[in-house]
């Protein structure tokens, strides 16, 4: 039995559940995760919804924090309510708790 025609793509089904990305969004997100080589280090606790990165990620590159956040904010359409709590030891702040307030998982 073939599943050839008229099947919705997996991403379309995710979108229907409120968990999808547009082609532009997913490209931006993958690019930023890749640019900062976060694929091994990042810890994402939220669902891929508006709160996509609600939680903690680890990087030694502080620029990554802002680049990721910019991408997340753009995805979520949110401009406010973001708190970044650096937890690493000075002079290298290597861990960040990020919370996008008011958006529940």
């Amino acid at each position: 039995m073939a599943t050839k025609t008229k099947s919705k793509t997996g991403s379309a089904k995710l979108a229907r559940e409120g968990r999808g990305f547009s082609a532009t969004d997913i490209r931006a997100l993958v690019a930023v995760l890749k640019k900062y080589k976060l694929s091994k280090d990042i810890i994402i606790n939220g669902k891929p919804q508006l709160d996509f990165i609600k939680g903690r990620f680890t990087t030694r590159d502080s620029a990554a924090v802002f680049a990721v956040l910019r991408s997340v904010i753009k995805l979520g359409g949110r401009q406010k309510g973001i708190i970044i709590l650096p937890n690493g030891q000075p002079p290298i702040i290597d861990r960040f708790d990020v919370e996008i307030q008011g958006i529940s998982a």
Binding site: A2, K13, L14, F21, I26, L33
Partner: protein, 370 residues
């Protein structure tokens, strides 16, 4: 030296094409009526030769390897050589006897899982495939045999990854491997439009990152996609360099990993059904060592040229930072114009079975030495 398989060197054995299922995406077109199978002696001889050539992991697939009666004996013999083992199965035929084959350590059981029960059963063309598999998982857990799941990602099922990861975790799996569908074998007819495109791969990439974070250390999620930068920075690991001058004195595992033995006795690089122009040849006609020698002299330079082309393209700016390298190599190999002098033995069709007497002796020797 690195390889697409990392630090391990994998020899993948498909001893038969008989299967209790007829899955829509089966790359080897295995089915209940398929009778093609290798004599155990040929398989053992190949494993022993592969071990000598530096392969340290032997993976059994098929067909359904649990239908291959000599499997237990072969696993035991390979274990005694110090090889690490994996068996890829649909899990439906696990019983106490077969779990006994898998026991003894050093063996990971990889169970195919194609989504939630309904999706799994549709892909497996069997209404009880999921239920029968799930019922048998306790046998593995009780025997302390580590196991994981292999999920075939299509254009239509990235939304099921979350369920799959939760199921894997709940069942006590150690591994979830996400493998993009290759439209080869039976999938060419039944799933021609189902290979995931770049967008679906990207969505799945983000999903697997999230799910890995949620799963923590208990479950490793591996996505069979290659980082283009990693490829660009590691040409030797992807056969994109010229053959080293001392290559002929190096173990063959440093030249090709994974190496595949198909159920008709053909040895090919990288994946089942790899274009025959690049095959090493058939073990029914020539010994392993002879096929290796011939391949190195004839097809390896062309194979490396092909891989070099892919590597050079990977260095160019691209829309996406990852690629399905295995699929790319396979597609390019299928269209590669092989110069006449590079055909070696791969272009011939060998059907003559060799006398398995020597290999039977080797198998017995292995038992005695254990």
């Amino acid at each position: 030296m690195a390889a697409p398989t990392g630090a391990t060197r994998i020899f993948q054995v498909h001893p038969l094409r008989t299967c209790n299922l007829r899955c829509l995406h089966c790359y080897s077109e295995s089915a209940p009526g398929q009778r093609e199978r290798l004599p155990a002696e040929i398989v053992w001889e190949a494993i022993a030769s592969a071990a000598k050539e530096g392969y340290d992991v032997v993976g059994f697939s098929g067909g359904e390897p649990l239908l291959y009666e000599p499997l237990g004996e072969l696993l035991g013999a390979a274990r005694r050589l110090g090889l690490r083992l994996s068996v890829t199965t649909n899990g439906m035929l696990l019983d106490e006897r077969r779990v006994g084959w898998l026991s003894g350590g050093n063996c990971l059981v990889a169970i195919s899982l194609d989504g939630q029960p309904e999706s799994h059963n549709r892909m497996r063309d069997s209404p009880r495939a999921f239920e029968a598999m799930q019922e048998r998982l306790p046998l593995l857990r009780e025997a302390g045999i580590p196991f994981g799941f292999i999920f075939t990602l299509t254009q239509f099922n990235s939304n099921e990854l979350e369920w799959i990861a939760a199921f894997a975790r709940d069942q006590g799996a150690q591994l979830l491997q996400v493998h993009p569908l290759d439209v080869i074998g039976r999938a060419e007819d039944s799933l021609g439009d189902a290979a995931p495109d770049a967008h679906e791969l990207a969505v799945a990439f983000v999903e697997t990152m999230r799910l890995q974070a949620e799963a923590g250390d208990g479950l490793t999620i591996h996505f069979d996609l290659l980082d283009r930068d990693f490829l660009a920075e590691n040409p030797a690991a992807f056969f994109a360099t010229s053959r080293p001058a001392d290559a002929s004195s190096c173990p063959f595992a440093e030249s090709i990993s994974p190496l595949i033995l198909e159920a008709d006795g053909t040895l090919v690089p990288l994946g089942h059904g790899f274009p025959r122009a690049f095959a090493l040849g058939n073990l029914g006609a020539s010994p392993f060592s002879e096929l290796v020698r011939d391949w190195r002299a004839t097809r390896e330079p062309e194979f490396r040229r092909l891989c070099r082309e892919i590597w050079e393209e990977a260095r160019e700016p691209a829309e996406w930072p990852f690629m399905n390298w295995y699929s790319e190599v396979r597609q390019r190999a299928a269209n590669w114009k092989m110069p006449g002098e590079a055909t070696g033995k791969s272009g011939k069709h060998h059907v003559r079975k060799r006398d398995g007497k020597l290999a039977r002796h080797a198998l017995r020797r292995s038992h005695r030495s254990a």
